[in-house]
Amino acid sequence: MASTESQPIVIDEPDTSFAEMIRATGGPNIQSCFQCGTCSGSCPAGARTNYLVRLIIRKALLGLKEAVISAPELWYCTTCYTCQDRCPQEVNPTDVIKAIRNVAVAHGHMLMNHRKTAAKVVETGHAVPLDKESWQKLRASVGLEPVPPNASGNPWAIEEVRKITKVSGFEKLIGYEELMKAEAEKAKKKE
């Protein structure tokens, strides 16, 4: 018979600096959370997925950084701020989640689709670009100029965004060059 002597199961190495990182951008009150669950009870994402704000905050306070930042459900929050408006402890749960997502991305946890959306802004100045002629025709059909006065018609504006995303480290963070290379190769193969 196997020994019944209990061995601790290690889920994660507690990282006490994690809550500090979150506090810096997610607000000063994360430690005030008393686990009432108002956040999760109000959460439309939690009503249909395994995304539980209360659990994430508890784990964050315990320093279970890796478990928190690698969990796919972290990305089910639509940032509707209902939890933030209802939290009796002013924990600012939505801002906490956004701060945790920043830590997750900095540690390489970013979905491919999100990398592509981020790359669109670097490439075109817009997350939803004017990327087909049909969109220009749609504009013309409602009596507007085919190209709006935003970055779509002003390459200098895109250049400015490129400079910002280079100097801020964002291009590296999302692996912009690699993404563009992969896209170019994909286009080549199609030919």
């Binding site: 929050c77 639509t78 940032t79 701020y81 999100h114 959306t117 935003n150």
Partner: protein, 304 residues
């Protein structure tokens, strides 16, 4: 009195996917004697729940770059998008409150010869309509009241939340957006899930479209349970996309068919101000383009 002027921040979805909203805004603001100025070279706001979730400093820098365009021009900004409003308003607020953030953002902006000074005011169309134009002036412009049209509302999230910070309305019992929409003469239809999110925000639509559409379905079912509505009105193009194109996507992913005409509040007002749907291109909503259908004009009392 001098004509009020606002820099018109377009964002992405209005000019690139729902140009009818841009056109309707131009018609409505002109009718109300408010001038909209082009914001040349403005980019993505960038999306608050998306870029704010990826890297806060980059988000705030790109947003601040947009703010500097209006600061140079010396007029406040207005936008018809809850997401753009949140990015521009939140970043302006955070840059004023957080010195460390402002320092890092201005270091980044120095690369392109710009500086955030903190002098610009950020508004939503709703603010300009309610507080600059005012209900009295709007009511005087209503020449075609949408009497008898059943109107469900989707106020969305980021104009009024977080409540303590934005101080726009009571986010649990909002009334300002409703009052604005009711000037059109349409009949307000309350439904249980009016205040839940459309499901698109926070990078969820990009991460998992089915989860995102499940929010939308819940709203539609809730409206139907309340007796149904002829139109759904929202102050946000991303919500409009989710509620409008979302019907086509729900049909594809879940095999359920809904038939709602979805209007931005400026499209609703353009109709009530007497503009024909073709004047701003109501039929270009992506739902109609993809379904090869038309808006149910008879339900709006507009049939020829």
């Amino acid at each position: 009195m001098a004509k009020p002027k606002f820099f018109h921040f377009l964002g992405c979805i209005i000019p690139h996917r729902y140009p009818s909203i841009e056109k309707a805004a131009k018609l409505v603001f002109e009718d109300l004697g408010i001038e909209l100025l082009d914001m040349v070279g403005a980019t993505c706001c960038p999306a608050p729940g998306v870029f704010g979730s990826f890297d806060r400093v980059t988000w705030a820098t790109i947003s601040a770059r947009n703010l500097t365009i209006a600061e140079e021009g010396g007029a406040p900004i207005t936008t018809g998008c809850n997401g753009c409003f949140a990015s521009l308003w939140d970043s302006a607020h955070e840059l004023k409150e957080d010195e460390e953030l402002r320092k890092r953002v201005n270091e980044n902006l120095a690369e392109i010869g710009r500086e955030f000074k903190g002098t610009v005011e950020v508004t939503h169309y709703v603010d300009v309509l309610v507080y600059t134009a005012g209900f009295d002036k709007i009511r005087k412009k209503i020449v075609r009241p949408l009497s008898g049209v059943r109107m469900a509302l989707h106020p969305g999230c980021h104009w009024m939340r977080p409540r303590a910070l934005k101080q726009k309305d009571d986010s649990e019992r909002p009334r300002i957006f409703r009052e604005l929409c009711e000037t059109s003469g349409a009949e307000y239809v309350p439904y249980r899930d009016e205040l839940i999110c459309c499901g698109a925000g926070g990078a969820v639509r990009t991460a998992d479209i089915k989860v995102s559409l499940d929010f939308t379905r819940q709203k539609f079912d809730s409206i139907n349970k309340a007796g149904g509505a002829d139109i759904i009105v929202t102050p946000c193009p991303f919500c409009e996309l989710q509620l409008d194109l979302g019907q086509v996507e729900i049909q594809k992913h879940f095999g359920i068919e809904y038939q709602f005409d979805v209007l931005h509040v400026v499209e609703l007002l353009a109709l009530a101000f007497g503009h024909d749907p073709d004047e701003f291109g109501l039929k270009t909503h992506l739902q109609y383009m993809q379904r090869k259908s038309e808006p149910a004009l008879d339900r709006l009392g507009l049939s020829a």
